[in-house]
Symmetry: C2
């Protein structure tokens, strides 16, 4: 079997500045968060749902898992990609992803909401532009 | 309500080079993929499960959604974070995330597998170091 191609950045696929910016992936690290909130599966599910709505995204499914002795993962499958949160309450830390692909998305509103909802004392936000072919972000996804 | 703190990188939280490198987030763009495979929900679910195993991760839940007229999202909730794939078969494109946090993870094996499984003609791989507090990656998550 032929091996994978060498890792590369493919600028030829992504030549429309406006369209590229409609496919954003926010990587958010939250520090100094409230232990109880980071360990509350139900609260985190609700928070993800609320964050998705603020981003103008549509939640199609939402799953979560409670770890022992503490910690939660919750993931919302969106019509426009996904939002996830992984928490380590013992370190007052959580790692959040907000990946939206589509028109009129507001992922930064979702990140601002989660920063406040989890009482994060400090945070780090990286905004990554994903690199779909130019035609992809033109249209929002439809679902049944 | 007090607004969110200014975005910032918090080097003081992450002072152990070896530990930081155990929390990797791979952002993989796949181009020129096989249309049928990108539109095959069952195949993609199996591929994600296989990719997780290659990464030495444990799948705790796996959800997916088929879009109309084409396209699939599949997300695996891992004991060690998550793997996701969003596909646009009409553009022969998919966006993959492989986020693993824990000891002895092999996320790059998962990415190599998906590049081959989807017959990607070209790809772009970005490896992002997440920034947990130093104590987080020391231990793998336990689950029930």
């Amino acid at each position: 079997m032929e091996g994978p191609k060498k890792d590369q950045i493919l600028s030829s696929f992504c030549n429309d500045e406006k369209l590229i910016h409609q496919s954003k992936h926010l990587l958010l690290e939250l520090y100094g968060c409230d232990y109880e909130k980071l360990n509350d599966e139900s609260f985190l599910r609700c928070s993800l749902d609320r964050a998705a709505k603020l981003a103008k995204a549509t939640v199609l499914n939402l799953i979560s898992n409670k770890f022992e002795p503490q910690g939660v993962t919750a993931i919302a499958l969106l019509a426009e990609s996904h939002i996830s949160i992984h928490t380590w309450p013992e370190s007052n830390y959580s790692a959040v992803d907000i990946f939206t692909c589509g028109q009129n998305m507001m992922p930064k509103l979702a990140s601002q909401y989660l920063i406040e909802a989890l009482n994060a004392e400090e945070h780090s936000l990286r905004i990554i532009e994903r690199n779909p072919p130019a035609e992809v972000p033109k249209k929002n996804r439809t679902f049944v």
